[in-house]
Each structure stands twice: as C-alpha cells, then as structure tokens.
Symmetry: C2
Subunit: 422 residues, 2 copies
Amino acid sequence: MSRGLVVTDVTVTPIAVQDPPLLNSVGVHQPYALRSVVEVHTDAGITGIAEAYGDDPTLDRLRRAAAVLPGLDVFDVHGLAQRVAVGLGEVVADTPTVLIGYASVAKTVAATVAAFEVALFDAQGKATGRRVCDLLGGAVREAVPFSAYLFYKWAGHPGLEPDEFGEALDPDGIVRQAKWLVDRYGFGSIKLKGGVFPPDEEIAAIRELRAEFPDHPLRLDPNANWTVQTSLRVAAELAGVLEYLEDPTDGIADMARVAAGTGLPLATNMCVTSFADVPPAVEQGAVQIILGDHHFWGGFRACQKLAGICETFGLGMSMHSNTHLGLSLAAMTHLAAATPHLTYACDTHSPWQTEDIIEAGVLSFVDGAVPVPDGPGLGVTLDRDAVARLHEQWRRCGIRARDDIAAMRVRHPDWTGGRPRF
Amino acid sequence: MSRGLVVTDVTVTPIAVQDPPLLNSVGVHQPYALRSVVEVHTDAGITGIAEAYGDDPTLDRLRRAAAVLPGLDVFDVHGLAQRVAVGLGEVVADTPTVLIGYASVAKTVAATVAAFEVALFDAQGKATGRRVCDLLGGAVREAVPFSAYLFYKWAGHPGLEPDEFGEALDPDGIVRQAKWLVDRYGFGSIKLKGGVFPPDEEIAAIRELRAEFPDHPLRLDPNANWTVQTSLRVAAELAGVLEYLEDPTDGIADMARVAAGTGLPLATNMCVTSFADVPPAVEQGAVQIILGDHHFWGGFRACQKLAGICETFGLGMSMHSNTHLGLSLAAMTHLAAATPHLTYACDTHSPWQTEDIIEAGVLSFVDGAVPVPDGPGLGVTLDRDAVARLHEQWRRCGIRARDDIAAMRVRHPDWTGGRPRF
C-alpha cells in the first residue's frame, strides 16, 4: 500500500568544516571535520534532510544504500532497515572514529540506517505538519539541556594562525574556557575531554572547575586512556566531585572491574555502542550510564529502544556527540525532547563549530538548553550557499577520513595514539 | 504548540459479550465477558477508537483518566502517560484477571494508558491518512499469523442451552475442536489452554494433536497450575513435542527452576507482565519467550519497547490474548505487523466470540493470518447498533467483574481456584 509519499531520489553531499585543534586520547582534531548532507526526495515534492558522517567509507555506504531507496514509503522505517541491509550487501566493520568504540558490522549498518531514518522522519513531519519530536511520541521537554564540552586545545593548528578559541593546556586554560562557554551559552553542567595529560593534571583541572563552578555537575572523559589501576585511583580521588566518569578504561570487562571498585557512576559511549554490547554490560555491571547517539545506534527509534532498555534495567541515559553541525543538533534536540528517560544533559560540540549548513536563527542555546524548533519535521532549513561552499571546501581540503593520530604526528612525529597511555 | 488535533472529549462505553464456558486453571468463563469501547473525540472532528477491559474498576479508572485528557495533542503519547498518572491519582493495584499475573500499580496504570494510546494512534492515522502500522514504523508483515486457541469446555453454561462450539473435555474433544479451528481459519499453529485436568490427560491431548497435526507447532499453557516438580515431569515428556510450554508454574523464581531443568522453551504472560519483571527474569533465565499484550503492557509503544528488550536479550516474542472483539484484533494486528521481533504466531480468542462491535468484512483470517486492514488508523469502523445492543446487554447481564471462580462454583460449590492444583 502506498499513500503517495515515497522516495524518488537521494542526494548525498560531502562537506568539510573548519575544526579547531581539540585534543583527545588518540590525538588531535584535524583542521577540517568531515560530514555529509543527506537529502531524501519524494514524489510529493517534499525533501527530508539529515546530517551524517562524511568520511569516504561512510559516503560509499550511504550511496550504495541510497541506490535501493527509491520506492520506499517515508513512514516505513522498518523497510528502510531491510533495504539498507540489502543495498550494503557485504559490510566491512568500520567506524568514523575509534572514539566511539570498536567497529562492528551492526554499528556500521546502523550508522547508514540512521542517516536516512532521520531524513525520513523530517519528510514525515513536513508531510503531516508535525514536528519530529511529535512523531517520536511527543516532547517531554520543550528545551533540551546540553553540557559545556571542554577540550584541551592548542592555540591553533600547526602552521596556521591561532583560532578564536584560545589555548587550553592546563587547569587555568580549562577554567577560562569553561567560563567562556558558561557565560555565552548558559550551560548548567560541564564535561572535560580528558585522557590528554597525566591524570593528576586532569584531576587538578577538575578541582579548579569545582572551585569556580561549585554547583555545576562535572564530568571527565579520558576516552579509555587509563588502565584499570589508574581509573580506580582517579575515581577514588574524584568520587563526590564528578557527576560521572566516562570511559576511564577500555572494554566491558575492565569497566566492570573499575565499577566494582568505586561508587562513582561510570558512563560510556565506547564499551556499549550497539545492542549486542548491552547484555554483557548489564550482566557484569560495567556501567551506570549509556550515552546514546542516533548517528551510530541506528537512528531515533533505535535510541528510544536503547532508552527503554536503560529505563528497564536501571541505567541512566545521556547523549554522545561527535563534531556536528546544526542539522544534527536539530535531530539530537528532537530526539532528546521525545525521550522521557534522558537523565543527564546531552553532549554537543556545537560551540566549537564556526561554520554551519542550516539557516541561522532557528536553533539557539538559552540557559544551556536548545528549545525544540517549532516548524514541521526537524524545523530547520538548509542554507544552500553554505552547503555548496562547504562541499567545495571538502573538495579542496584533501581530508577523506578522520585521523586524529596523523594530525598529532604533524607536531609529534613519533605519536602512536596507543592506549592506555596512563 | 498545537497543530489543531487535540482531544475535546472522551466516551467510555461498557459492553458485555456472550462468551462460551471455556475452562482454565482458575475456573470457567462466565456467560458474558466485559469489554469497553473508548472513543477519543478531537477538535478536528476525528474520533479515535479502542477496545479495553470492561470490569468496573477499569471503567472507573478509564473515566477518571478521561476527565483530564481534553486539550491533549493526539500525537503526544508521552503527555498521555503523564496525564493518566495525574488523573488516576492514588491507584490500587488491580488486574481484570489473575490469568495475566499479579496486579501491580504499574500494570494498572499501563492498562489505562494503553486504552487511550490505541485510540490516539487511530486518530493520528485518520488525520494523516496513514495506517497505525505505518505510524508504528511500517509493516514488516502484511498479514499477522495467529494460533488456534483450544480450550477444554463444557457443552454450555450451567442452566443454558448448549452453545454452537460443542463440548471438549478429553483428547478426542480437543482434537475435534482443533480440526474445526484449523479447517475454518487455516491456523498454522495450535495452543491448548491447560491446567484444567490432571497433567497426564493434557499430555495425552497434546500427543493426539501431534498425531493429527504432525507439522503444526503445539503449545500448552496450564496457567501456573503446576508445581515445579510437575512442570519438570511434563516438560520432560513433551520436550521435542511442544514449540513452547507457557507458564507451567508460578513466579520468576520457580519458572527459573523449571527452565534450569528442561531444554523446552518456556513462555510467559504471567510472571513477566511489566517492565519491572524483566531484569530479574533475565538474570535468572526464567523464560525464553515473553507474550506481549498492548492492553496491559501500556500500549503499542510499550510493546515495541518490550520487543526491543527481547531482541536485545535474546528472548522470543509472541502475543497474549484475553477475550476480545474485532477492535482489539485490529489493534493487535497493526502492532504485530509493525513489530519486527515477533518470533511466534500470536494468540487470539476471536473464534470464540459470536458478537462484535465493528462493521464486518474488514478483518478476516486467511490461512491462519489476519491481513492488515488497509484504511487509515486501525482501519475498522464501529457498528453503532452493535455497540448499543452490547451496552444494553452489559446493563442487563449483572456481571461487573470477571470471576471465573464464581462461574465454576455454579457447578462445583466447593471450588476455590487455588493453584497449583497439580
């Protein structure tokens, strides 16, 4: 049965956006981050849009899947998953960054499904005059709280001018950065991307943040750059200070060892990143909070499924972020608005992006939260000139996959990115 | 934000339908079964409909919740849950039958939410020209397989004429019944409601069914009327014969003891009937299959959440049925159509109902499966004359709550309904 709103054509446009030199456990952000714009056109003249990863393997998968989507009913999310599986055929496990855990075939397929599912929901909303959050069950919050995402960073990329954000390589720099983010955006909680410097330096940064922001919940995320022993030592020092400690160490088994030795809640977007990871994590008590992300869990419905699991098994939920633009922020905001079991403020890289692909004025941070856009679908509109410009930037930038290790080697030729370093 | 499709008024109409004397572990069906018709009217002139339980405590809750629904956006399923919780205020744990497990506050609230959620989805579908299964993610099957639901039964209710279905009190009667159901409806699997006679008689019935239907999957459901010891003995005898054994004994702990002693898969709609039951059941390995039921799990989305949990934790899924009419059958069919992780044919009491509240011709069994109705929403229409007639029947029948024990006492005055009897 068709109700006259079926996919006719799909466009995938890779883009590159300027990105500051943010440091993490494996290296440093490259001067450009890759994303893509997915447009799903329908026979009703309605086009659904979404933002996805933009590395070459992702682009290849998006295009292979796109080829089998014509004829799909935009409401048929289950049919989408079936078509994507068929369209992809043999799938090589792959992830756009090791910072979201190990690659798996399931995750790789899920990321492809997600890109189109978001666009389908946008089209559904435009066709029915409904917001995506309404189609996801209704907004339980009309503004979605995000946390200030602090990064150690260089003043600028090697060989380039310093950027507008300034250097942050010690506790003072981190506190300065936090003040800027909290003053400008009103964030009510703070997360520090750690795993960059020896743990004692990062503990010192957390303590200075605590002194400066006595009421802000604080999080620390060393991206699995610590041993179990280091994790336990830091957890002992920061219990009662942190809201949660995110991925101190690698893998469910070692996370469970840390969890067994501390009362500090552990969060993850690295050891539980697909549904197959959930049962062993639950059985071993490895984590107390899972960070969902529609980009790699498989879309909105997959994240709501994850939220249902977390609610049922007594786990908390937050939302993970990779570098993203406003189109993904809109998607994250609708999803978070329509997810009752979201127990912590979400992560976002938004403040670090100086370029965007959506028309300005719809999305903004008010007291650290993004009000849900009011228009149908995702409620945001592509800025076609910006997309063209960022696509041209993609054409010229020469980067085709995220490689934080290579970016670090520009300054430190012997850098391996091997973990755990501490 | 309102898009102009909000609830203005709700009607709850209790009805009573003739019901044959079907036997089970606690007693026998009364001459009338109670249901209710829920109509959610909107400011757009669209009315969403649903079928719910019809006992007095349920009616009271439906009406208390209905009073706070005006103003609710029909897409706001999350808002529905919040309003129902407020509208109900203090809730006394209660269930329309002990055959769906113990009462709990969560289940009681969920059943109230479910009735309205189904009606909201029907209204959403009518407003958007979409089938409910489309709004639930799309149909992964266009016809939903059901199983033949066999019951031991008397020829007629005490003091009344024999009914059209005939007596079934021994293996021959059960096989005769199965032939009628399979011939008439084309069912591809068979379930026997057991727990009525000593286990050896029911084992004999299963063996005769196996001889008569060598290729039909068979299930046996004694509704927790056996001890662990009896359960293990029957499981040993019927391993390799049954597709699954449903609720042989009572409670998660004892079901886990049975599960530990047999390779025969165990199913339940009694020991896992709310989300709070899931973690202990998973941890103890108590069951391999959960029978969802939108009527008491909390609606469509709650059942999809349950399906996501079952899929993630390696559990099978089927669908439970209480006595219901065509409006519930339509809802069950849409839900099952839009639930990828449904691994067994669903239960239905449909063949046992001689009266209905929907216009004929839309729902039918073809080769044991119900094709998904093609119209918007649930795709079925209330037969107003029938609703009026069955409401009048409710007014006159004098039954206000299901009581299979009392019905049994008409013939067996010393009947207690106590379990386990075997």
